[in-house]
Amino acid sequence: MIKKLQASKSEKILFGFLIILFLFSFSSFFLLKNKCIFIEKININNLRFDNPNNIVVMNLDCGNVVIELYPEIAPMAVQRFKTLVEKKMYDGSAFYKVVENTLVQAGDIEYGNIKFLDYSKIGSGKSGLGLLKSELSNEFEFTEGSVGFSRTSEFNTEDSEFFITLKEIPIYQGEYTPLGKVIYGLEILQTIKKGDKAIYVLRPDFINTIKMFKSN
């Protein structure tokens, strides 16, 4: 005669614990995959600015990053940035260089766009609008969320690439042309995909669009 086996109390607790653990792991796997889950969405239609002509909205997968431009500090650089925004040349641009918790860089028009990504040349592309003179400022502090124009190791080589700092980088003061500051959505930039071992990102995240605030 087969005797029916009855689970002891401790076995029942253990079994229950294993089920909870399994459910938790299963749900976490899907929740954590969504890097945008804890990002608060900004409704840009509710935002008001004193000078909307100097506000740009960068749309990324996790939401909108709002940047205020500073033409009074770097008039030529800001004008170039606005031109590239209005021509939609930044749309689809790759964040190909990401230094974890330090900065993200995008804006290679020629070789760093989702439509024509060239890993062998990325970072060396041109906009076709020519190089700009560096507009350095000893007053502008590269605090968290500062936007600067990238350059080569030489000054006066600014073109289209820009970076956004994810922490204060005092040594950049007076070294890079300041474009402006992020005023909303800095946490979105923290979700941008990093390289595993290098600062250059294989299969990077892209800018969906950058638009002037007034045109939204």
Binding site: V99, T102, E154, E175, K197, A198, I199
Partner: protein, 242 residues
Amino acid sequence: MKILILFIMIFSISNVNANEIYNLLKIPNLEVYKLKSNNNIRYLNAVKNFQIGSNKNITCDKISKKNLSNKFPIIEKNINRYNSNFLQKISLKYIVLCKNLKISNINTGGIPDNKKRTLILDINFNQKNFERMIHHEIFHMIENSFPKYFNEKKFSSFNNSNFNYAKCSTCSDRLNLDLYENTDGFLTEYSKSVPSEDMAEIFSFLMINKKKIKKKIQNDKILKNKVNFIELNLSKIDKNIL
């Protein structure tokens, strides 16, 4: 295959040196020691040993905080003798402090890099002549920025016709930095190595002990011409340095 090599180069070799100082100066393992100064010089120090250069032929070692805090006031005092306008003209903004600085395994006091606006200084180099060495290296930044003012051929013509410099600064054993009692056209043995080192030695002595050099040149016509040459051309860049 080419693509594979390219991927390996881009994504594996450009590596963890990815901090903001490295981005700027292309020297790894540095931290900021002092960022703000009256003449806008920024001081950095090595927190780990580093190797730079195309063949990693420049090496320098990390320094302890204690060593640095002992030497830094001396370095800053000497660098503060140059105003920000002058330093901008000679493309100097960053001073990297480390020890056991070597280029191709040869010890050196400093390595100037005008392109990166950086001067690497060995804080343990020749303690007897340490302060003068700072100005010596600064001179190399000056001549690199204004080569037309410090023409080696013209400078060499002040020497006796039978004198020949070595082919390079480390190609001879003329390395002693002590001031000659009888100068005879040269302040130190190292002055005899190459014209640019001769000029740098004169400049550094003028910065450290101008009175003594002025006295020496009274009886040394060659040296007098050389000193005048340095002073005249330097005054074209900044009248107040010497």
